[in-house]
Symmetry: C2
Subunit: 351 residues, 2 copies
């Protein structure tokens, strides 16, 4: 079993549900939805992310500002840079995977293409206190974090070598986090990542045919059906995608059509903070503090407003092991029905 | 650090090599190659796959034939089916993710598409003995395993509902294996997996422009340069791909152009057994028995011979954790230079 969360024998005793193949309407990716007996949240392996501090001398805590490179952004209360007295702080990653200096130097080598690894790699420190989970931050603090994302993207947009900003968060060791103090990461790239390109292409194809945004259509269809909806506010909808690749995969979409996250207004930012916190708390409750990742899917930096692309956030709890099988083939097997995962998160309550 | 194999602080002390972005010429996927200090095999986290048997009552061992569903194929020495006296045995997976019975029943649901999960899910038991690693099998046994792959694909090709056979192997728990007895898996699908489609599309685009196979060109350029070659025989070349997504990612390609693995002849099968064993032993030696996956990339079942696609095997040791970041964005960060990983595997000797 490629993504089996449990020993095979205890997992399936024949089908309690007929497996089906579902296609993501944006990327055209087929996913096997093959629920056996392991379909309730309690059936998944759990390595709960500890809520107890284990880290000593955390470089992200207030008072340790000099353990990080100099900040590039902060929400401060009249205090000097790189001193205590901040609520969110953005610093270059001490061990960046890309460098901000120099020209791209694109070059070929026979059939191959390369360029220098020019870009930015920053850390968004979400709180001066050693808070471990973003879900435990007050709404106002989450709003500040989202505001910092917006500010950093707007600033990096001025560098015309950069095409895309990946904003993502790894929560818990199983999701790739190496420091426990709650933080997000930003990687600004001179290229557009493949999955984003596929989403852009799929959305454009749909728009050409129908002159409608596929995500807007998805929101209309899903809010009407209700079965895959986790929660809904005046401004946002949270749902389990029809062809979810992972158990409890959850998307947050603004109801109003906007292609670029960084154009978000204050009212949406405030509501998104509540929606994100509620989503993360439901996931924590239903799956007992799993590790998770989220990433913001937004249109490329240097593109104008697009009528076909619709920014959104994808949250993926890490409850099964993804085997190389999936990475190598681009084919996913999901043991959980999206309708059931939505119901569990819906029933988990506002948190 | 999305794919940090080590705590950040010990990993980088600035760049010992300038990071670069490399593009896979087939799929157009950009990868960040960002080597820090962790670039030697010994720098990677190791959870060696134990070579000592821990499993009791293994359903795949000789004498336990009735613990599995009835075999669909076996190399037998004149013995009756489902009895001892076999060298390779193929059985349906006891807990399949797809079902072989019934029509596809394609249907729409507004903007969504689905079909019934029709397909096959089989297990190739590679040895009657409780051998844990395929690398420890004699060459002749590996040749039989590869022959069983060929036979099963040829048989499944007769079912016209099926479009693709994914043949893959998860070795070690970290790579998704749930039983230790060496086995491979086969999933026959009514759709072509996304990554294969991308490879087919990229290869076709190149062929249209140049009237040459991109993989043949890659083999010519790489054997001439030598820097990314791990080993070469009369019939096969083993190399680290230019835009490797994972440390020590290794591809095995036949030198002669063939689009379909199942058309392989006896001489190639025999040589491939040696090449695969040597590759796996080098990986075991250089990385101290890591978990790994391999998958066979071949042209779709029902397609005729293609001048643009070239079957090959992709082997990916599991030495770093892939964070949701990569899964979500389709963007990979590889801390190891392909030239260095090829050198380590080259120097590891024939095993």
């Amino acid at each position: 079993m490629p993504s089996s969360p449990q020993p095979e024998a205890s997992r399936y005793s024949g089908f309690s549900y007929m497996p089906e193949l579902r296609k993501d309407p944006v990327t055209d990716q087929w996913v096997i939805i093959s629920p056996g007996n392991a379909r309730r949240p309690a059936d998944f392996i759990k390595h709960p992310v500890s809520s107890v501090r284990t880290e000593q001398n955390c470089p992200y805590c207030a008072g340790h500002e000099h353990s990080t490179p100099d900040e590039v952004f902060a929400f401060r209360h009249g205090t000097a840079p790189n001193q205590p007295g901040w609520s969110v702080r953005v610093v270059p990653n001490k061990f960046p995977v890309l460098c901000i200096e120099g020209p791209l130097e694109r070059e070929g080598e026979g059939i191959f293409d390369r360029m220098r690894g020019v870009g930015a790699h920053e850390v968004v420190i979400e709180s001066p206190d050693h808070v471990i989970s973003m879900a435990d931050l007050p709404e106002k603090a989450i709003e500040n974090v989202l505001g910092a994302y917006r500010a950093r993207i707007q600033d990096l947009k001025n560098d015309h070598r950069l095409r895309y900003v990946l904003l993502f968060k790894n929560h818990g060791e199983a999701a790739g986090a190496t420091l426990e103090h709650s933080h997000s990461q930003l990687i600004a790239l001179p290229v557009v990542p493949k999955r984003v390109q596929e989403e852009l292409r799929g959305a454009k194809r749909y728009y050409k045919e129908k002159e409608r945004c596929i995500f807007c259509d998805m929101i209309r269809q899903e809010t009407k059906a209700g079965t895959r909806i986790v929660l809904e506010t005046e401004r946002f909808v949270v749902l389990a995608p029809y062809a979810a690749r992972f158990p409890f995969e959850t998307w947050i979409l603004p109801k109003q059509h906007h292609s670029h996250f960084e154009e978000i207004d204050g009212a949406h930012l405030e509501n998104l903070a509540w929606v994100l916190k509620s989503t993360l708390r439901r996931i924590d409750k239903a799956l007992e503090r799993p590790a998770w990742n989220f990433s913001i899917h937004t249109a490329p930096l240097q593109d104008g407003a697009s009528p076909s692309f619709h920014w959104h956030i994808e949250v993926t709890p890490k409850v099964t092991r993804v085997a190389g099988f999936e990475g190598g083939s681009g084919f996913y097997i999901n043991p959980t029905l999206p309708e059931e995962s939505a119901k569990f998160l819906r029933d988990a309550g506002p948190g």
